[in-house]
Subunit: 429 residues, 2 copies
């Protein structure tokens, strides 16, 4: 089944809005087996909408439009499609009642122009939008399907998830079974992962039935495996064979499985599993590590807190770093990283303390310690070490990568994986 997406809206063509609707739809449609072969982005323009919808209906099995269903004079979509299909606009009573009710609840006066919001094109099937005021419309047009959706992202997603995707899945039928599987890896570069760790996959990739993609992300490289087969069993076997191979090859680098999995989430799970609590002492990451950990609901179960020792005085006073060591070796040194990690664990009464100290940039680098130099410390009753990394000269990327490396370090320690991220060596006092 082939489809085309038409994103309608002036704001998309002046760069005010990024077209996230189209890419979300493209991903969801691809997952259920509908191939997107073209995406058009055009203005709220009567002639343009008619032209493209007409063209698309003759080139694809399904055509989607998003946008242009609001009440302002800029919103052209309904009128354009009504004209194209030689039809009329009629008021949809349930939607009208719903809109009136919303306006009443919010104390907004209902005026005549608001009737337009409840209009639909005669001949369509109305798909009621519980999340907003614009209903979706579904048309069977001479063998092709036309689906008209609002442009507001959560409304469009609600309608797609509740109405459209299930219907299309049914239409595609059970002739083909599909599945996707996602894994997050961390602490290894993408090319090293694909070329050296995972290696040649040709024995597993059976033509178009199964595919593997490496998707970069700030935390690490995500691996996505997609498969399809004519029976559920065949699909299961194919997927499990390749997934099993990846897990065997990349064991230790795989943080977790699932589309939305996050490094901080898995670190949290591991801490909870062993009943340990962690505290963080941050300098160059300035709160980024704590922020990542606390983005995860339930983190209060294992996260004590942290000390952001941005000024050296704070390293000495709050973390009990030795003032002489600080002066002689500098804040960005093994000794200071080690002491920060131990200091925060002791001060905050945590089982594990980690630290970051480095030069985020863009200023502050020297020949010996250029921008991007970072020490990451670890303290527990069992181990006390620091690793030294070299990142880039971009401040925000340095914060991000140091944070991911520190979290990955903790994850590996908790799982007894001896190799540190990027093969960096544990350096003792």
């Amino acid at each position: 089944m082939q489809c085309q997406i038409l994103s309608i809206g002036d704001e998309l063509l002046i760069g005010d809005t990024v077209n996230t609707n189209a890419s979300w739809m493209a991903r969801e449609l691809t997952e259920i087996g509908v191939e997107v072969n073209r995406i058009y982005t055009i203005k709220d323009d009567l002639a343009g909408i008619k032209e493209i919808v007409n063209e698309a209906l003759s080139s694809a099995d399904v055509v989607f439009t998003t946008g242009g269903l609001g009440p302002t004079h800029d919103d052209m979509t309904k009128q354009a499609i009504a004209e194209l299909l030689d039809s009329e606009l009629v008021v949809h009573e349930p939607t009208l009642d719903f809109i009136k009710k919303i306006f009443k609840e919010r104390n907004i006066p209902f005026s005549k122009s608001n009737y337009h919001q409840a209009e639909v094109i005669e001949g369509c099937e109305v798909l009621f939008n519980e999340q907003g005021t614009a209903p979706a419309m579904w048309f069977d047009h001479e063998g092709a399907l036309l689906v008209v959706l609002p442009g507001v992202p959560y409304e469009m997603k609600h309608l797609m998830n509740h109405h459209i995707l299930p219907r299309l899945k049914k239409k595609i039928g059970n002739k083909t079974y599909r599945a996707s599987h996602y894994m997050l890896t961390a602490g290894i570069g993408e090319s090293t992962l694909s070329d050296e760790i995972i290696g040649d996959l040709n024995p597993f990739l059976n033509g178009n039935d199964i595919s593997l993609a490496y998707l970069p992300s700030p935390e690490g490289t995500r691996i996505r495996i997609r498969g399809q087969a004519s029976t559920e069993q065949k699909l299961k076997d194919q997927m499990e064979t390749l997934i099993g191979h990846i897990k065997k090859q990349a064991d230790g680098f795989i943080v977790g499985e699932g589309k939305q999995i996050r490094l901080a989430e898995k670190v949290g799970e591991s801490l909870q599993e062993v009943g340990l609590k962690i505290a963080v002492a941050e300098s160059c990451t300035g709160g980024s590590v704590a922020n990542s950990l606390t983005d995860i609901p339930g983190s209060s179960n294992y996260f004590k807190g942290g000390i952001i020792a941005y000024e050296n005085e704070v390293k000495v006073n709050q973390l009990k770093v030795n003032a002489n060591d600080l002066q002689q070796q500098g804040a960005v040194s093994k000794a200071v990283a080690l002491q920060m990690a131990k200091g925060v664990a002791q001060q905050l009464n945590a089982h594990i303390g980690i630290s970051t100290t480095g030069i985020a940039g863009p200023e502050g680098g020297t020949d010996k310690k250029p921008v991007g130099t970072v020490w990451i410390g670890f303290w527990s009753e069992d181990q006390h070490f620091a690793i030294r990394a070299q990142f880039t000269n971009d401040r925000l990327i340095n914060k991000q990568r140091t944070t991911a490396t520190a979290l990955e370090m903790v994850r590996r320690i908790l799982l007894d994986i001896s190799e540190m991220p990027y093969g960096l060596k544990k350096q003792l006092a």
Copy 2:
């Protein structure tokens, strides 16, 4: 001058990548007066590329393509356009030398297939890409311009900024003068800002020559004013009249001016101006406030650090919050917010201490203190108060909004603006 953009790449149609290139280009082009009237997103497909480029060249003054210039067998763009223009691919020697040099530096063996990366279409003007391996190509084709760009964002932006946009600006000539002006507001809702504070702008908006848009962002509402006129003076007058009016109406709510201005940046500037240092005590924001402040280069000039007192024990031990008050009134209370702010300022030896304590969610709410309840505290030698806000039930949005509100609170204090964000009242001990 009208243009169309053709984004080429399979990954765009399976939702792996969001089309940020097209929206970036659309914004930059619109700013210099080139109107984007259509964006196509298509696969790496020979026939499709030829069809669309051909169609676009007959419908616009300038056609841009991005993507498909790599060395793999998926990359079709050069071949498609060569066929369409009835031309050949030839090796561009300077690019070949450059690629060989990069490969040598990175110790990557140079193979025959890498020659393809240095090929360009005969008849084009080559625009050398110092940021990557694929050069851009500029064609004058029967009165229309065709610009072929790589898909890698920083390479495309480099080529656009250094070669393409300046050339197009020159072509447009000085017949129309254009300008844009951006302002960030904070601590006020968008509708209140537009309806009550700024109000009716019809006297200022002169048809299409000047426009104003409200653009929501996590930190606040950005106002964008765009103008055009036939002379520089007329443009200047029009823009200054409207900008002056906005500044007068929205004085106090305007954080700063400029497209990329950030709240943390302005707070930092204000702190530096008065030579004061700040420390943060965070509970529910878990590091987000410190992280925002330290994203700004030079923040070590005014940011002492922070204490992330995620567990109550840390509030008592590190911030010297009174254990009885904590027990009786709870962590999410005025008393605790006040004490956290004072405690961190004293412990970290800062002029200003701010605090956040609340229920980020999704769990933890009660009838009296539902999810989204937040106290934000402020301490300095001059003032000591807390404000109470009520946000949503989304954890990440709560963290974000609490952070923005805390930063906006500081900004207003430093500028002697007595009203607090969202009209929240300062509550004393």
